[in-house]
């Protein structure tokens, strides 16, 4: 009996609160707010906040064309797998003190799980056989490589800080990090974590492939690159995945640096988390989008491996010497 109850509870986790439904609504809202803010900063009115929902449902109503030269199964299944993987990542990220499954995976696992959605886009695009997708694939992969190094540095810095504070030397488990912050306040208050936080803010748009790091989906140069051949519902799923990825990365930032702000009530925490995500999106995605122009791919790489990695490295060294 209790097993059934707990099974239903976990199913609820997966499907409703930190899981699918929450991801869908919050992610789409986040995306809409982002578009609205960018428009505002460009002195425009901008689309309605619900625009991503309209786009998604419209795409669901469109015809899905499978090109003759595409391998159908990969082409159609890749979006779904990527979406599922993203939802699972969201489950592994604790919502302040509440953590659905975050006892099951640590930060390095999440670092790798974040590759799965990217892989799904890459393989799906490659399966379409379009040369535009080939170019987009190359750029997407280079963007991933670019973001990997600074992200690793940031995670290691956090692990070292929390670990040395907990006395275990190092700590990879997100739930431990959350618990530590619940006790000792957010990590962002530490001097040593500030550069890492800034670096993470700069990593978020790169990981989500937002402007100006969207050379992989450059719609004017390479016809949206990897998505060039996608139409209809699969395209909508990719747009949804992109929205959810924004939510995932921002809430990862919250879990890493802004933990301990929760109240303990799950529903309320969810709202607080979403608000924090909105703020982070406004700062790290919309603002950067509004004030920059698209970078070339080698510029992206250079930017991440010099400036951002430098920031993360500073805070890693600071953390190493226990500041």
């Amino acid at each position: 009996m209790t097993i059934v109850i707990s099974a239903l509870q976990y199913l609820g986790y997966v499907l409703i609160f930190p899981g699918f439904l929450f991801c869908f609504l919050a992610g789409m809202l986040l995306c809409g707010i982002d578009r609205k803010l960018v428009a505002k900063m460009q002195k425009r009115v901008g689309p309605p906040v619900l625009q991503p929902f309209y786009d998604f449902f419209k795409l669901c109503g469109k015809e899905t064309i499978v090109p003759a030269s595409a391998s159908k199964t990969t082409f159609l299944m890749a979006p779904l797998v990527g979406l599922a993987a993203l939802v699972v990542i969201q489950l592994f990220i604790p919502v302040f003190s509440f953590s659905a499954f975050s006892g099951m995976a640590d930060v390095i696992v999440i670092l790798y799980l974040l590759l799965i959605p990217a892989m799904s886009v890459i393989l799906g695009g490659a399966a379409s056989g379009s040369p535009y997708a080939g170019v987009g694939l190359s750029r997407e992969m280079v963007t991933i490589i670019s973001c990997e190094l600074p992200l690793v540095l940031v995670l290691l810095a956090v692990a070292k800080t929390v670990g040395s504070a907990l006395g275990t030397g190092l700590c990879f488990s997100l739930s431990d990090i959350a618990a530590y912050q619940a006790m000792h306040g957010s990590l962002i208050t530490k001097i040593s974590m500030l550069p890492a936080a800034v670096a993470m803010l700069l990593i978020i748009p790169g990981e989500t492939g937002n402007h100006p790091f969207d050379a992989a989906e450059a719609e004017t140069e390479i016809c949206e690159g990897l998505l060039a051949e996608y139409s209809g519902a699969p395209l909508g799923v990719y747009k949804l995945s992109h929205a959810i990825k924004m939510l995932t990365l921002t809430s990862l930032f919250v879990a890493l640096f802004l933990g301990g702000l929760g109240t303990g009530f799950v529903a309320l925490d969810g709202i607080i988390l979403f608000l924090l995500c909105v703020v982070l999106t406004a700062v790290s995605i919309s603002f950067v989008h509004a004030i920059t122009a698209r970078l070339k791919i080698e510029q992206i790489f250079k930017f991440y491996w010099t400036l951002v990695s430098g920031l993360a490295l500073i805070s890693l060294v600071l953390a190493w010497y226990g500041l």
Binding site: K40, M41, R44, A290
Partner: protein, 217 residues
């Protein structure tokens, strides 16, 4: 790497947008905007000048002869779907019967919706007057008389077509050049001024053009 526009972005985030909320707030076209064509058949004399000067072949002129001498029904059709909105036709129209309005809502799902047309009935051409016919022989009779007073100015015709006053005329051929219908032929050498009555549309351009005012309508 420098970041311009940081200030602007932050200002504009809290300032009012600069959008023209068009469908909500209707907007007027600028003065002298050349939009949808309005055609006034009542003024038109069907000279066809507009048709000839139209660069986009947007104007078609249809003439249908009505039965029992009711004249011709002349229909001008302006295809906005082919129009360049250069307004040359309006400039050339002697009777100002073509007008470009500021209406820019030229959206249609069928091509017919983009046609502007109007028609008017042109009075039938009268037969040449009897006296004129009668005068001919006596003119011929007097022809032999050598010196005689200069012929009095010829009286205007009823059908509004031009008559030349050979006394004043200097055969400068300006009228022939101005004639939209090419109805006039003037020969300087032979000092002849002939009118092709079928071609003439009685627009009066020749009279306006004549430097000596020797063309009488």
């Amino acid at each position: 790497m420098d970041l311009p526009f940081v200030k602007e972005a932050l200002q504009q985030l809290f300032s009012k947008s600069s959008c023209a909320m068009y469908p909500v707030v209707p907007s007027e076209a600028a003065p002298n905007y050349r939009g949808r064509i309005v055609y006034h058949p009542d003024r038109c004399i069907g000279c066809g000048m507009c048709e000839r000067v139209c660069s986009g072949n947007a104007i078609t002129r249809m003439v249908e002869h009505l039965p029992e001498d009711q004249g011709d029904k002349i229909t001008l059709t302006f295809n906005l779907g082919s129009c360049t909105f250069c307004a040359t036709c309006a400039d050339f129209c002697t009777t100002h019967s073509i007008e470009f309005t500021g209406d820019y809502h030229m959206v249609a799902t069928k091509e017919e919706d983009l046609l502007v047309s109007g028609s008017f009935i042109k009075a039938p051409r009268k037969k040449p007057a009897a006296p004129a016919k009668a005068a001919a022989p006596e003119k011929a009779a007097e022809g032999c008389a050598a010196a005689e007073p200069a012929a009095e100015a010829p009286k205007p015709r009823e059908d509004g077509k031009p008559v030349n006053d050979p006394a004043k005329c200097v055969y400068c051929t300006l009228c022939a050049r101005k004639c939209p219908a090419g109805a006039l032929t003037v020969d300087r050498a032979a000092k002849t001024w002939t009118l092709d009555e079928d071609k003439c549309v009685a627009c009066g351009t020749c009279a306006e053009a004549c430097p000596k005012n020797c063309i009488i309508l």
